[in-house]
């Protein structure tokens, strides 16, 4: 029998290892799997490479993981947001690496990681410093650069509903990087607000097919990053 449901975030992240590449869903706090990230902080592995659109806010979730010195490098498109303090400080001190990637290129590199496409040509960033050192190629008279797929050892993803097969649906713009990250990681760990019976999700509306998901954990009342930041909370809890 297929049962991808794990009992707790701690159990679900138990085998994440030092030096792993981890894809983390979310656009800002929306779609960010805070409980899974906090479980990873509790666990305490180091030298992680994190692939995520942003670098977190305040001292909660992704920012707290970085503050806890567990992250060696981030691959992202927008490493600062309104309440972003941790990453900018470490970056200015040279204590964390950054690979800056245009958002659409980041998304496509992740999708290709899941699709078995090792590399592709794109017009994005041609003529800019982000194309420096990249292979250029003229195709049908237009210039493109070569970009490579991104794959993760693990993905941490947040969704709305999941079943024991790992079929997922999301809520509104919290979908963002979730579906492509699920497919691009060897082991995809998902926190779901709701676990439903197999068959409850209409086959026509499944967004992430279960084949892309290895573990599901129930987090019925996920924390809201911005609420915690407004309350000056930190993780580990202050």
């Amino acid at each position: 029998m297929i049962n991808k449901i794990f009992n707790s975030p701690a159990e679900a992240v138990e085998d994440i290892f030092d030096g792993a590449t981890i894809l983390i869903s979310g656009f800002g706090e929306v779609g960010s799997p805070i409980e899974l990230i906090h479980a990873l902080i509790d666990k305490g592995v180091k030298n992680l490479t994190v692939v995520s659109n942003n670098t977190g806010s305040g001292y909660i979730g992704l920012a707290a993981l970085i503050e806890n010195k567990q992250v060696k490098k981030v691959i992202c498109s927008f490493p600062k947001t309104a309440n972003s303090v941790v990453f900018p400080e470490l970056y200015s001190k040279g204590e964390i690496e950054l690979e800056l990637v245009p958002q659409g290129t980041l998304a496509e590199r992740i999708r290709c990681g899941g699709a078995g496409i090792p590399a592709f040509y794109t017009p994005t960033s041609v003529g800019t410093i982000l194309a420096d050192g990249k292979e250029k190629r003229i195709i049908n008279g237009k210039e493109y650069i070569l970009e490579h797929a991104i794959k993760g050892d693990f993905a941490l993803v947040k969704c709305l509903k999941a079943d024991r097969y790992g079929n997922l649906v999301y809520n509104k713009t919290a979908r963002n990087f979730g579906p492509i990250m699920c497919a691009a990681a060897k082991t995809t760990i998902v926190q779901a607000k709701q676990i439903v019976d197999v068959g409850d999700i209409d086959p026509e509306v499944v967004v992430t097919p279960g084949i892309f998901v290895q573990r599901v954990v129930s987090v019925p009342n996920p924390l809201e990053e911005s609420v915690l930041i407004a309350e000056n909370r930190r993780y580990p809890w202050n």
Binding site: G28, S77, L100, T105, A107, T124, V126, G127, T128, K172
Partner: protein
Amino acid sequence: MELKITGWDMNLVAQKIANDIPDGSYVNLGIGIPELVANHIPNGKEIIFHTENGLLGMGPQPEPDKIDPELINAGKKSVSAIPGACYFHHADSFMMIRGGHIDYCVLGAFQVSQEGDLANWSTGEPNSVPAVGGAMDLVAGVKNVFVITTHLTKKGEPKIVKECTYPLTGKNVVNKIYTNLAVIEVIDKKLFVLEMAPGVEFNFLQSVTEAELHTKT
């Protein structure tokens, strides 16, 4: 340089853009001043707004009691979804952008060059954290790239320059520049003044523009 002429209010500039975008267009608005454009769509014109974080058919900020924290725009502000909207993941969202499906984007600028190069993501300061977001994807893929900006920086320096000194977002990508002083079109790597704010004359406009300006005659 201090301007005696303030020209159009930026809301009026946004309104000009809203008037220039045809009915039925798919439009992506950058964060900040470009968002003003959404407030000025004329009645009867149906414009579909795309936000790159996964929504086509973005509507205005909802009433406080209607806010869903998981429904935001690219600027991470709460928005709504119009009837006929749809949600999708990031790869599909940038398929719309890179694939040339978005008709117009409206972006802010640090500098625009006379050949239509755009610099709007980094001042290149060594200690700042670089952040590019979706800007390079938008200028590479969207059919028409409109820039909305004040004509001069806060320090009074020209933003429309011979060559951008800040890191580029894209080369030869801007189609039109809307400032408080003028509307300028980029045609074949030359800048043509289409309209000037009341009280602005061509010679004055050229004097506050580093790039060479032309008139359509």
